[in-house]
Symmetry: C2
Subunit: 319 residues, 2 copies
């Protein structure tokens, strides 16, 4: 219920997954009549959805603390509870990120050894898997050296299970590659992450810069949530400007329109590859359960990607 467009794209996304994956079933939380009506529209969803009726909706501007105090009858709370009781294997929400993290933390608790949970995001990359993992993408605004080590271990595990990598390469985000650069906690984290390489099955490649987030020099990029969130959003902003300018370029002259006609399938493939909806879904790491935060403005394709990711992680037994 809590996404920008309510349940419409959510149910449409479920239907897309249901059509291709016969073993997935859904527990849906929110206004019963509305959900029933929506679900009826899709043949693929027949007999595969259970509705948990709830009355409250956590809005996008609700503070996390208020979501904990007053959120008990909300669709968000009910979603997390279903995961806690074992009725669901994955919880997915398009709602308020801060409220979702707080609700998940309170109900699911931190996993053993975790200092601070984090949100992992998939970034398009030329690596074989097609993606790099960046964390923390915004669960918290700060991280000390122990948290950054914790992120390295969680990110490495996520890359092993979500991207099927044997020995993920971890990079620590900094403003330069030289060892004298950066804030003190980042320099301290450098040593800690290097020390813990062996037992955790990752390869530490050292400091990486923002330019390398989308490169094949690394599989996992570790940073605090403030920096990670800004890096992801800035890149999205840059990609949006480029897409718009490319569309304008093709509409500009008769020749360019003819060119666009001939290059249509290639351009479509190109736009699909850089489509940010494909990488939708921030995964909460460090909790006792798999929680995925889908973009608030997600359409059916975005929701589908988030569910696909959740299914993949739930099927990977060691996650």
């Amino acid at each position: 219920m809590g996404g920008d467009q309510g349940p419409i794209p959510v149910v449409a996304g479920m239907a897309r997954v249901a059509k291709k994956d016969p073993d997935v079933t859904f527990v849906v939380h929110g206004n019963k009549d509305e959900l029933k009506k929506r679900i009826k529209k899709y043949k693929s969803l027949t007999d595969r959805c259970e509705i948990k009726p709830t009355t409250k909706v956590i809005s996008m501007d609700t503070k996390p603390s208020s979501a904990l105090r007053n959120g008990k009858d909300s669709s968000m709370w009910s979603t997390i509870e279903t995961l806690k009781t074992g009725l669901a294997n994955v919880a997915i929400s398009c709602g308020n990120t801060g409220a979702l993290m707080a609700t998940a933390m309170l109900n699911l608790k931190k996993a053993p050894g975790v200092t601070r949970p984090a949100i992992a995001c998939l970034c398009p990359s030329p690596n074989a898997s097609g993606f790099n993992v960046l964390l923390d993408a915004g669960a918290d605004i700060k991280a000390d050296e122990k948290d950054l080590l914790c992120y390295s271990i969680m990110g490495s595990k996520f890359a092993q299970n979500g991207l099927q990598l044997n020995k993920p390469r971890i990079g620590l985000l900094n403003v330069g590659k030289e060892s004298h650069k950066g804030r003190s906690e980042i320099k301290a984290a450098y040593d800690l992450i290097a020390e813990h390489e062996e037992p955790n099955g990752y390869e530490f490649v050292g400091f990486v810069e923002g330019t390398e987030i989308f490169s094949n020099k690394v599989d996992v990029i570790v940073t605090d949530g403030f920096t990670g969130n800004t890096a992801i959003k800035s890149s999205e902003g840059a990609a949006r400007v480029i897409r718009n300018q490319l569309r304008q370029a093709f509409a500009h002259t008769l020749f360019s329109r003819i060119g666009g006609f001939f290059a249509y399938t290639s351009l479509r493939r190109f736009f699909k590859r850089i489509d940010p909806r494909r990488a939708n879904g921030g995964v909460f790491l460090g909790l006792n359960g798999i929680v995925i935060k889908s973009h608030g403005g997600s359409d059916a394709v975005g929701i589908e990607a988030a569910i696909d990711l959740g299914v993949k992680l739930a099927r990977s037994k060691s996650f």
Copy 2:
């Protein structure tokens, strides 16, 4: 001398500017014989260059502290000194950013009222000027609320003089628009920047997110140097991936090649618009003198853009 490719692209960039702008002259610092030979290759540079011979070169991995101790006979030091003595109106370097900032700080001193100098970067935007200003892009790794206010005032002045804006719109970078989000110094800066709107001739639009760095909702984006540097570099990385994938898309099939042929001029215009070299040049703000840091890997086109920017700022009397 200190850029990735030494003086070759520097002199080539000077020649490009000299050809179109008859009133610009140059003071060049470095190996005398090498520079003389290089300059001779360009007719447009005849009788317009003075060479200051120097022996040392500050390398890219020199620490700022060591550049101050041992840098006196370097091309970098000599460049800043020429600005200090008034022989030049602008100093431009492709060398080590940290060393350049330290050398400039020591020799030029902070301007009155400045708490912390900053580097301002131009980001492509759909605004009429074609650019937004982001600062700090990496002069320092931290900034408190007073520094962020200082950046707002300097950034506003820079936008007035460099982009000819009457009343620049200032945005403070944060992980969300809601007032409860972000680190404590950012919340404190919000109030300070709002209070100082009137006397400084800017309009404060409040918190902006990374997605808006390249938007027309704002003219100046204010943040600390760690975040700003990461935002710029992440966007560069994303843009690079997109450019490569677009090139691949057009090479993919015969049809797409035909399409590329017809759309050639539009595509060329597109690639020119998103060319990062056009926005080359980080401007050091808050010092007694105009210093521009060009990208270390700049080619002649990038150097030309940095010199053009310097000329524009030097001619704007109030800067």
